[in-house]
């Protein structure tokens, strides 16, 4: 019997290999302006 269902996610450990291009949006610019949320940013790396 299956007890665990794993959702598709980006593997953060793997993202260390090709990450860090810095092209993503500055975090709160043009949105909330008063709190820091990183996880809801889109990745803009073309080589990931």
């Amino acid at each position: 019997m299956k007890h665990i269902k794993t959702i598709t996610t980006r593997n953060l450990c793997e993202s260390a290999k090709n990450g860090g291009c810095g092209e993503c949006q500055t975090s709160c610019q043009s949105a909330c302006k008063t709190s820091c949320g990183i996880a809801n940013q889109k990745c803009e790396n073309k080589n990931k």
Binding site: K2, T9, R10, A16, G19, C36
Partner: protein
């Protein structure tokens, strides 16, 4: 490190360092919690007398498989990478918040910018200062192509001619400089007219529209200098603007305070008015301010976040979806680990420019003289403050060390931390409680969306 919680009918297990999300049944949920205990299988078997011990063992083996695959109990190996992204992009500026108007046509007492004046004189930015700011951005953006500029205030439409001139200038040079400007504008709506709507829809990649929701809530704070509420005046303008934009690329951004911790009612009002791209933010003010959120408000606010998630799930299933900024969690396409540990970029890749051309780490530090970084003519000369922001990352904050949400907030907002603790490397604990609840809700919604799209059930 793992984080386990139950929400929306799901048992959710988040593996913090790998970013893996698992939906599990009760047995697996309890077994994962007890996994490190050598007698975990026996203990769980005793708790579930009707379940054969072989099945419990089988579940234990599944957990072990996930651990060996790096999807459960993954160790935190990221600390040496902290600061690497900022080092790699050191000296590169990619976003500016242009304070084109330190003045406002509304007089909201809860305004973090003290009615747009930032505790200083009223002022508007000249075209010459704004042009130099754009040149400063181009000169310091290195190989980065997309440059972000937010027209901010006060109320930026009180200096609309300069906004238009600055956009025209940027468009005239961006091609030859190999850049692409993404402009945004944050407005209270009072001066929105057809000209503004046409211009915004042509030039602004996003607009942020300030509306607090229910009329009585909005008009409690968002009043003109004669004390008249602004709700009646701005709502039709916002509706016209949003319709002309095709209902996209905007945020209806509200603030909730001690006066409306039940902010879900305000979100429902926004929905009733036809708005679907929503953001609702806790007020930023001194703890002694009457509008500040209190400890008594906290459970009410946390409940709103859960109920909001439920409403979003329900409306998505009904084919009437809407967006909430903080729940826009893309589990498979979100940011890399470098971004997650390096923080928001304030003071390094992002800065605010005052009407006089002074540079500050971000819009929330404007007016705090000791944080002045330099100016747009001579660049950053206060390297001590800039170094402090450059070294601001999730590992620089001892309070974040054992927090499961640290790779979702990157240590939080430096301005919130400074105002709560006196240090940009402190932690605004109240904000943390709200943030953690928002992430739990956002992950639950992502799980629910995937679950609704598959046949497989636990």
């Amino acid at each position: 490190m793992i984080h386990q919680y139950k929400l929306g009918g799901y048992n959710i297990v988040l593996d913090v360092c790998s970013g893996s999300v698992h939906v599990v049944d009760d047995i697996a949920y309890d077994l994962i919690a007890a996994y490190e205990d050598p007698s975990a299988v026996e203990k769980i078997a005793a708790a579930y007398p009707d379940v054969p011990v072989e099945e419990i063992q089988e579940c234990y083996d599944q957990i072990t498989e996930l651990k060996e695959a790096g999807q459960l109990f993954a160790p935190d190996t990221f600390e040496p990478m902290a600061g690497a992204l900022k080092q790699r992009t050191s000296g590169v500026v990619k976003a500016l918040c242009l304070h084109v108007a330190h003045t406002c046509n509304l007089n909201c007492s809860y305004c973090f910018a003290s009615q747009g004046k930032y505790h200083g004189e009223r002022a508007v930015m000249s075209f010459e200062v704004g042009k130099r700011a754009l040149d400063f951005l181009i000169e310091n953006s290195g190989t980065r192509r997309n440059l972000e500029v937010d027209f901010f205030g006060g109320e930026p439409l009180m200096n609309f001619d300069v906004v238009k001139q600055l956009v025209a200038y940027a468009r005239s040079v961006e091609k030859e400089k190999g850049k692409n400007f993404r402009f945004t504008l944050t407005t209270n709506g009072v001066l929105v007219d057809d000209d503004v709507i046409d211009f915004c829809n042509r030039e602004m990649s996003n607009v942020v529209l300030s509306l607090d929701g229910r009329k009585e809530v909005h008009d409690r704070f968002r009043v003109d200098y004669a004390g008249n509420g602004s709700w009646e005046k701005i709502v039709p303008k916002f509706q016209k603007l949003v319709e002309a934009r095709g209902g996209q690329n905007y945020y209806m951004r509200g603030t909730f305070t001690h006066a409306n911790p039940d902010f879900l009612e305000d979100i429902k009002t926004m929905l009733d008015l036809g708005f679907t791209e929503l953001s609702m933010e806790p007020v930023v003010c001194a703890p002694e301010d009457p509008s500040a959120l209190t400890d008594e408000d906290l459970p009410i606010v946390l409940k709103q976040y859960e109920d909001l998630a439920e409403l979003m799930r329900q409306r998505r299933r009904e084919g009437r979806p809407f967006t909430f900024y903080h729940y826009m969690l893309d589990l498979s396409g979100g940011p890399c680990i470098y971004k997650r540990i390096s923080g928001c970029g304030s003071g390094t890749e992002y800065m605010a420019v005052t009407p006089w051309g002074d540079l500050y780490p971000c819009h929330q530090f404007v007016g705090e003289e000791k944080f002045k970084l330099g100016d747009i003519w001579n660049g950053v000369d206060n390297t001590q403050v800039q170094d402090e922001f450059a070294s601001c990352n999730v590992y620089a904050r001892p309070d974040c060390k054992d927090c499961w949400a640290r790779l979702y907030c990157s240590g939080g907002c430096a301005a919130n931390a400074y105002h709560a603790t006196g240090s940009v490397k402190g932690v605004y604990k109240y904000g943390c409680e709200l943030f953690k609840k928002r992430m739990e809700c956002a992950i639950m919604l992502a799980v629910s969306e995937e679950d609704d799209g598959t046949e497989e059930d636990l």
